[in-house]
């Protein structure tokens, strides 16, 4: 009844708190602290962390970087899109635009690459399947992550940020080859 009535004590603040609540608050607080410390812990000991490297950019400038990479390392074509095989350790560029991920990348297993990602127009979602790594790709910003594929095979980049009527047609590919 008093949940919707004024408290029975004028000075309700100084009413003692039950043991059960105190114990629960203690347990919950410890758990909350553990959850907090897991994040810095993973930054130090975990292998899946985003770098903080990002740049402001614009569509023509980023496109020029992509085109330069395609011109240097193109090894084939699929569905009208170039397949690019950049050397391990190099800067690799992929762009999202309405409605494709460009170009197709061919990477080597267990080699690391500096993968640059940006959008030419709207927000896109870089969702690497079936690995299930998901990144937000924001126009005007170039994100750089160091990625080291540890499985070989065919991987697909699905767009998982709504980007208009062709959103569900927007796919890209990353092939990882055994070395």
């Amino acid at each position: 009844m008093s949940s919707f009535l004024p408290p029975s004590e004028r000075n309700w603040w100084s009413t003692p708190v039950g043991k059960q609540e105190i114990i629960w608050i203690g347990i919950a607080l410890v758990w909350c602290l553990i959850m907090f410390f897991m994040m810095p812990y993973w930054h130090i000991y975990g292998k899946q962390n985003l770098s903080n490297e990002a740049y402001q950019t614009n569509a023509p400038r980023y496109q020029a970087n992509v085109d330069a990479m395609v011109a240097s390392y193109k090894v084939g074509e699929e569905a009208g899109m170039p397949i690019v095989r950049p050397p391990p350790g190099s800067d690799v560029y992929m762009l999202g635009r309405l409605w494709q991920w460009y170009p197709i990348l061919e990477l080597e297993k267990n080699q690391s690459y500096r993968l640059h990602l940006s959008s030419m127009d709207w927000n896109h979602g870089f969702s690497l399947q079936p690995v299930n790594i998901n990144l937000q790709i924001v126009p005007g910003y170039e994100m750089v992550i160091t990625v080291a594929p540890d499985q070989a095979g065919e991987f697909t980049v699905v767009c998982n940020e709504f980007c208009g009527i062709g959103h569900h047609l927007m796919l890209g590919k990353i092939y990882v080859k055994e070395n």
Binding site: F4, K19, H43, L117, P139, Y141, E142, T156, F162, H168
Partner: protein, 577 residues
């Protein structure tokens, strides 16, 4: 002229203007829920790949309308009714500036209609989030702005009403806990609307050509200052309603006023930059910022919810035990009124909000774990557990209380009302759990076609994903059925329910006050403080609510296990640095 009436069943006093405002806002909320529910059917039957009902353009349009009507219009209209109830009714006072309140209501209606028209016209299928530089029609944004201004006026009317109650000394001591919770919701709402104004006003000006460029990253940061904080309004509001319901049904008193109020205070202090949860995998934002702003080093907002998770059912258990339901750990719960939709709706919402919504929310709000969850269908699964079951089902349960108390009507089809929370919860839980599973397999949210028919490159999700989405579809349809049952009962009650008072006519329910003779109280008696307990229970050596404590520990175990399962899953994906 007397302007108050007293409800003979509940003893609540209603100020005539406040009563009409509550009714009008509740009805407008129900209309929004109707729209949202119909659109939900379109969404779920399209995502169920074997049915795949709607064409792509219509799907994105329907999804936009569903999100805005369900998450914004339905909930905020209903919250306005709650604010007026928690101030005017609970404090037995006249409402401040009723004309301003009506102006706010009118703006909200205009905004809602304008926004819905924009979506209906088809050139504003930009999703609820409307991420710039994707652009909607100007009246899409203007509608939202007008709605927000209207809601802001409502917030100030609420605050003004608290001031009047204090000046007129309509109550003894401090404001009740439920009003305190509503005040929390109101304060968060003001912050939320400010964030909304900061981002939507420039976006509106951009849509009509006065501003050349909206930075896409900035838009996301500030928009979520509104988008996420508005969910904290919901949490504060529905937790307040939980306290109200256990008070009304069980005469429960808070286990400790200090603990429950401090927990509400934590919501205000530690939720405000919750937009961080939405930009964990965005470029240009540092890890330090992300880690700190998702958690403030110790997750004090999560702590607040964990506290309410103990104290709400705990206060019910204490009250039930005092009535003699003391056998074993759970007699207090077994002997609860499971046939009363006010109780069952409240209790299911509590459990599903805590066990599913809460746990998944914290897990996906962890900086690195977000990598395997961001923008998958796991995300809508999470917020359906928090908002569609947590908030919406709580408001449904409250409606069953308000129909006799506020609208003075007997429930129409009480048998349907009785099972409604069961149908709705079962359907939604099924949908949520299977969508969580599909999200873990990488299925994208806001996506028309799992088959990618017509794409230049091909991709197939695993077969299991299709099965999961189909079961989610069945759950969703059941959930929509539960929602429809709610609307049949409420609208039916207002139209055909037996009148419990002399009526002012058919429209009595829809915002009209009752017949003048019902208002026979000049000024209610001053609201007294709750009676003191004969025996001080607090601080006693024993556990007052052992059953609740066991439930809380069960929650913690699920939480810990599930949290580390997700770290394990994360550790299996490609190394990134």
């Amino acid at each position: 002229m007397a302007q108050f009436r007293v409800c003979p069943d509940s003893g609540f006093y209603f100020d005539r203007s406040a009563e009409s405002l509550m009714k009008a806002n509740a009805v407008a909320g129900a209309v929004s829920l109707l729209i949202a529910g119909i659109l939900a059917l379109g969404v779920i039957l399209t995502r169920w790949q074997e049915v795949h009902l709607l064409p792509a353009d219509m799907f994105y349009q329907v999804l936009t309308g569903h999100g805005i009507n369900a998450l914004i219009f339905w909930i905020i209209f209903f919250e306005m009714a709650i604010l007026y109830f928690a101030s005017s009714t609970l404090l037995r006072t006249r409402i401040a500036a009723p004309r301003w309140a009506w102006l706010g209501f009118a703006l909200m209606i205009i905004g809602m209609v304008m926004n819905n028209v924009a979506v209906l016209q088809g050139n504003s299928s930009v999703m609820m989030t409307s991420y710039a530089p994707m652009q909607a029609a100007p009246h899409f944004y203007l509608g939202l702005i007008l709605f927000a201004v209207g809601a802001l006026i409502g917030c100030f009317v609420f605050l003004g009403t608290l001031v009047i109650a204090r000046e007129d000394r309509t109550y003894e001591g401090s404001i009740p806990l439920v009003t305190f919770g509503a005040l929390t919701a109101c304060i968060i709402a003001i912050f939320t609307i400010a964030s909304g104004a900061i981002i939507l006003v420039p976006t509106f000006l951009w849509s009509i050509g006065y501003i050349g460029h909206i930075d896409a990253a900035m838009y996301r940061v500030i928009w979520w200052g509104m988008g996420h904080s508005s969910q904290q309004i919901n949490v504060a509001a529905h937790v307040s309603v939980w306290y109200l319901i256990v008070g009304v049904l069980f005469n429960a008193r808070p286990m400790s006023e200090k603990v429950s109020r401090s927990a509400f205070l934590l919501y205000i202090l530690f939720l405000q930059l919750a937009s961080a949860h939405h930009i964990l995998v965005d470029p240009g934002i540092s890890s330090e910022w992300k880690v700190f702003n998702t958690s403030y080093a110790m997750y004090l907002a999560v702590l607040a919810s964990m506290i309410h998770g103990l104290t709400v059912p705990g206060s019910m258990e204490v009250a039930q035990r005092a009535k003699g339901y003391t056998k074993g750990m759970f007699e207090w719960l077994r002997k609860a009124p499971w046939g009363n939709p006010v109780f069952s709706g409240f209790f299911f919402s509590l459990i599903i909000f805590g066990f599913i919504g809460g746990i998944t929310g914290v897990v996906m709000g962890t900086e690195q774990i977000n990598l395997i969850i961001h923008n998958t269908i796991y995300v809508p699964a999470h917020f359906h557990a928090t908002v569609a079951v947590g908030t919406t089902l709580t408001f449904m349960a409250l409606t069953y209380l308000l129909i006799p108390v506020l609208f003075r009507r007997a429930l129409f089809l009480p048998g349907v009302a009785k099972i409604q929370p069961y149908v709705f919860s079962a359907g939604m839980t099924l949908m949520i759990l299977f969508m969580l599973g599909a999200g873990t397999l990488g299925v994208a949210r806001r996506h028309w076609d799992m088959d990618f028919t017509g794409a230049l490159l091909a991709f197939e999700y695993p077969g299991t994903a299709y099965t999961l989405m189909a079961v989610a579809g069945i759950g969703g349809v059941l959930g929509v059925l539960g929602g429809a049952m709610y609307l049949v009962v409420t609208v039916g009650s207002l139209l055909f329910g037996k009148k419990l008072d002399e009526s002012a006519g058919l429209l009595q329910g829809f915002g009209m006050p009752l017949a003048p003779s019902s208002y026979n109280v000049e000024q209610p008696e001053r609201l007294q403080m709750a009676p003191k307990l004969a025996v001080e229970q607090h601080g006693s050596a024993g556990f007052e609510a052992p059953g609740t404590f066991a439930l809380a520990l069960a929650l913690l175990v699920c939480f810990v296990v599930y949290y580390f399962i997700n770290w394990d899953y994360l550790s299996s994906v490609w190394p990134l640095s």
